[in-house]
């Protein structure tokens, strides 16, 4: 039986298994890390700015959310991998947020 395989050009790029999407390269990782460092710098700066104190909590939560998302999506590859992993993680995250809100509502933290 004839060999029907076709030789394909060899690439130096890693070939990901079927369950893995294309992961970013080192340059993209470094770019994300720089963004994370800059945002952390902003967080600390905002903490010391007198004029920003009225909006401190929403600003800090926003920065925290952006950093959290960048790490989960890029460094943990949820942006690139199967959505099944994301469903698992979002399930746990939703449970934690629900738990957080229920505890704080029961003890009326928001009203104090």
């Amino acid at each position: 039986m004839a060999d029907t395989r076709v030789d394909e050009p060899q690439s130096e790029e890693p070939i990901a298994p079927a369950h893995v999407g294309r992961h970013p390269g080192p340059k993209e990782y470094i770019r994300i890390a720089i963004i994370l460092a800059v945002i952390t710098g902003f967080e600390v700066a905002v903490y010391y700015i007198e004029g920003a104190q009225d909006y401190l909590i929403p600003i800090l939560f926003f920065f925290s959310f952006v950093k959290f998302s960048l790490v989960v999506l890029w460094f943990m590859h949820l942006k690139f991998d199967s959505r099944t992993y994301a469903r698992f993680f979002v399930m746990g995250l939703a449970g934690a947020i629900t738990l957080f809100l229920i505890v704080l509502l029961i003890f009326q933290v928001f009203s104090s």
Partner: protein, 208 residues
């Protein structure tokens, strides 16, 4: 059963019932359950941080510049971790080994910082039994520190295994799993840094 791509890269997990590696699914499930653990601990901290009737209060002990440096160290360790994974995925065991060691060293630096911070707080009068703030603070950050310590042990194990040829491009998934755990520790710290350290807590009425 392993399947071999035409490139020679082996995917040991493609034959699972989901088409996804069970170990990776299990790790994500573990991380989801760990979210609940830290959700409970953070809720408890938020509930009790302003409820102490005796000093020291949060504003008396927290050193934001110092903790900010710790945060930068942990963020840097996440970068070295992904660089270790990227290196092993392209078959560069040597460079992966260096990045794994760098990640472990950064993790140990963070832990050293936490030990110093705890020591300082105890000297300032904040112990596990001083107040509800002290209890909830030490339990939350202590659990996080324990996670970091476990992560450092896993990283050092990978580093040691790489010398015996047991960490290769073929089983890059092992590095990826440890990486997932490490990044999870990082995202938990992102939340702790904001909620515990940066969001101010007013001292109780009557406190100086």
């Amino acid at each position: 059963m392993a399947t071999v791509e035409h490139t020679g890269v082996v995917d040991e997990h493609a034959a699972t019932s989901t088409g996804l590696p069970h170990l990776k699914l299990a790790m994500w499930l573990f991380l989801a359950s760990d979210c609940l653990l830290f959700g409970a601990l953070i809720s408890t901290y938020v509930l009790y941080r302003g409820a102490s009737v005796e000093p020291p209060y949060p504003a008396d002990v927290f050193d934001i510049p110092y903790t900010s440096v710790s945060s930068f160290v942990l963020l840097a360790s996440s970068l070295t971790m992904v660089l270790a994974l990227a290196a092993i995925q392209r078959g560069d065991v040597g460079r992966s080994r260096i990045w794994l060691l760098a990640t472990a060293l950064l993790g140990m630096t963070f832990l050293g910082g936490q030990v110093y911070e705890f020591t300082t707080f105890v000297e300032e009068g904040l112990t596990l039994k001083t107040s509800v703030f002290g209890t909830s603070f030490y339990v939350l950050t202590g659990f996080h520190g324990t996670h970091v310590a476990v992560g450092v042990l896993m990283l050092l194990t990978l580093f040691a295994l790489s010398f015996g040829g047991r960490i290769t491009q073929r089983n890059a998934l092992t590095v990826e799993l440890v990486g997932l755990y490490w990044h999870f520790v990082d995202i938990v710290w992102i939340v702790i840094f904001t909620v515990v350290y940066l969001i101010p807590t007013g001292n109780p009425p009557g406190a100086s």
